[in-house]
């Protein structure tokens, strides 16, 4: 299957659009259904799709495990960091209103970064789970 030229070409064509769609969902989360959670899952799905077509070693070369773990951790840190920023700027924890001069802008800014954190973490966790299970089976086959 990995040598199937049709799949490889279509995958290469499709994956950028998947990522683009993920970004759309991410940034449109303010105005319509969507947000970091969904976007993160779509990002992870595109990588998983890539893995299925090109194989796990290739995917691990593209996106090594340590990056995935870093994504998991840094997403949470971004989220929590926004909260702490609220405290630093004189509000309560997770207070968006103080993030900008205008409370409404502050809201937008707060939500934006929170959603970024969510997206990074969710895609990281999804990939981590996938790597874990996919990796296990290979080890067993080889061994």
């Amino acid at each position: 299957m990995r040598r199937d030229i049709v799949l490889r070409v279509i995958a290469k064509l499709l994956i950028p659009f998947m990522l683009l769609f993920a970004l759309y969902v991410q940034f449109h989360g303010d105005l319509g259904p969507g947000g970091g959670f969904q976007a993160g899952v779509i990002i992870a799905a595109s990588i998983i799709f890539y893995t299925i077509i090109f194989g796990l070693p290739e995917a691990r070369r593209l996106l090594p495990e340590w990056i995935v773990e870093t994504m998991v951790a840094s997403g949470v840190l971004i989220y929590a960091g926004v909260g702490v920023l609220g405290i630093l700027l004189g509000g309560n924890y997770l207070d968006y209103f103080v993030l900008d001069h205008d409370p409404v802008h502050g809201q937008h800014r707060g939500i934006f970064w929170i959603e970024v954190g969510v997206a990074v973490t969710v895609s990281g966790v999804m990939l981590k789970i996938f790597y874990m299970f996919a990796g296990r089976r290979r080890d067993e086959d080889n061994g």
């Binding site: 773990e69 870093t70 998991v72 951790a73 840094s74 949470v76 840190l77 929590a80 909260g83 702490v84 609220g86 405290i87 630093l88 509000g91 309560n92 924890y93 997770l94 207070d95 968006y96 209103f97």
Partner: protein
């Protein structure tokens, strides 16, 4: 950053440190950060406790959304006490963990355990501090998930099965809890505990409330290992790494008990539900059954960790027994036993960790003659054991005093007999250890082993000394517990 943000920081700091540990992935960094965070948590908790004593209830609106719409952190006499207990245990366990973890876990997994430790700490503190029912569920799951991971990191393969069983039981418990609060939300439209307590009085239809009450009781009962929902606990405690066992036994079940107390007394109130359902009778019977059967089972265990795990089930029975009596003395006994039992069991399991390090296993045949080879460890275990029995001069005595007093005030003389008789069973299993440690010829396989490393022994002894201190000078423990009990009984009427 001023004093007013302490409630948020109490939870946020351990929560942030977990991903930081994952980012850095160095074992020494993980350990250092865990120690630092747990000590800061303790400082915050103590500050909050003193503040509450001075000024009364402290509230904190997350995101500046005023309650009942936003999530509110609410610190009062009861949960500030629990915060101190949880963070104190963490502050003792974390520095102890370095050598123990290095000995019991593969090198590359150590940082993961510390990350989970911080996450678990954040979850437990979050459950305690939050004033929002659903937020309790979220933190409950954060704490539980990290707990499952920590248990699964145990050395033996049985740890995996224990973690799996705990995962199933714990998830069922949490889901039951969510069903319960879902019903409450449907009836009242609020999730804020303080708001809910006010609105429940106006709810005419009592049947959904009773259903919610039942779901919550069973759900939390699973989490706190209320007999007969305790099946997960002995295996989980026995096969988890020693540090994890010590931390969990001192905190996890205690925090669940706190949630139960919160629901029984702050939200439902004795008048609504104790009148409509025979809750106190049911709880009383279950507590007694738990105390007696778990103590008896403990007597016949071959593994020291398992023995004290069963003893934990029995001790939780004492706590719920005090709740079921629902008078001031009983409630004081329950709340003070959260601390007393936490400190005692923490000390015991930390010392057992030292034995596990030196002897490899903690079965009774390996323990023989340990009193001579590890005198301080064995002596500390004896003190901890005496506290479980309830000998005066140890923390356990204070609990027993209040429980017996509560039983006498209710006129339950037979209950007095049950309580004191159960102490004798505890004496039975504690004395098995004493005879093995001091009055048996040493085990040949571990003759050369000496005392546990100083850093482990030292921090274990901090808890042993605390166990004696809280048996002699109770101005902190009983003082706080009584204040909380008065508050709860007052709120419930």
């Amino acid at each position: 950053m001023t004093l007013e943000h302490l409630p948020a920081l109490q939870v946020v700091l351990p929560l942030i440190s977990a991903p930081l540990i994952v980012l850095v992935r160095r074992r020494w960094f993980a350990w250092a950060l865990a120690v630092l965070v747990s000590w800061i948590s303790l400082a915050i908790a103590v500050t909050l406790f003193l503040e509450v004593g001075r000024t009364g209830v402290i509230t904190y609106a997350i995101g500046n959304w005023p309650p009942p719409w936003g999530i509110e952190y609410r610190v009062d006499a009861l949960n500030s006490f629990v915060l101190v207990l949880v963070s104190f245990t963490a502050a003792v366990v974390a520095p102890y963990a370095r050598i123990s973890i290095a000995a019991e876990l593969p090198r590359e997994q150590a940082y993961l355990l510390f990350a989970m430790f911080c996450l678990c700490l954040a979850g437990l503190l979050g459950i305690t501090i939050t004033g929002d029912m659903f937020n309790i569920f979220v933190f409950l799951e954060i704490a539980s998930l990290s707990t499952y991971v920590m248990i699964a990191l145990g050395q033996r393969r049985k740890a995996l099965v224990a973690a799996y069983q705990y995962l199933i039981m714990g998830t069922i418990g949490a889901t039951f809890y969510v069903i319960g609060i879902g019903l409450l939300y449907l009836m009242t439209g609020t999730l804020n505990i303080a708001d809910l307590a006010g609105r429940l009085r106006d709810v005419g239809e009592i049947r959904p409330l009773l259903a919610a009450f039942a779901f919550i009781t069973v759900g939390i009962g699973l989490k706190l290992a209320l007999f007969p929902l305790h099946q997960w606990l002995p295996n989980a405690y026995a096969f988890a790494p020693s540090v994890v066992t010590a931390f969990l036994s001192a905190t996890a079940t205690k925090v669940s008990v706190y949630v139960l107390i919160r629901f029984y007394f702050t939200i439902f109130g004795t008048s609504i539900l104790f009148a409509a359902l025979p809750t106190d009778e049911v709880l009383l019977v279950l507590s007694i059954a738990g105390i007696v059967t778990a103590s008896l089972v403990a007597v016949f265990q071959q593994d020291l960790k398992r023995m004290f795990a069963y003893s934990s089930v029995a001790q939780i029975g004492y706590i719920t027994l005090g709740l079921s009596l629902a008078n001031e003395a009983g409630l004081t006994g329950s709340i003070v036993h959260l601390l007393n039992h936490g400190v005692t069991k923490g000390a015991i399991f930390l010392l057992i960790g030292g034995i596990a390090l030196r002897c490899g296993a903690v079965t009774f045949d390996r323990l023989r003659g340990i009193g001579r080879r590890m005198p301080l460890t064995a002596f500390g275990l004896v003190i901890g054991g005496l506290s479980l029995v309830g000998i005066p001069g140890t923390a356990g005595f204070i609990t027993k005093w209040y429980l017996v007093l509560a039983a006498i005030e209710r006129g339950y003389w037979w209950l007095v007999a049950v309580i004191v008789a159960s102490s004798l069973i505890a004496l039975g299993y504690v004395w098995r250890f004493v005879e093995a440690a001091y009055l048996s010829p040493p085990d040949e396989r571990s003759v050369k082993q000496g005392e546990a490393p100083a850093s482990m022994l030292g921090f274990a002894w901090v808890l042993v000394i605390a166990c004696v201190y809280f048996g002699l000078d109770t101005s902190f423990s009983v003082g706080a517990a009584r204040e909380a009990a008065v508050l709860l009984i007052g709120g419930a009427r």
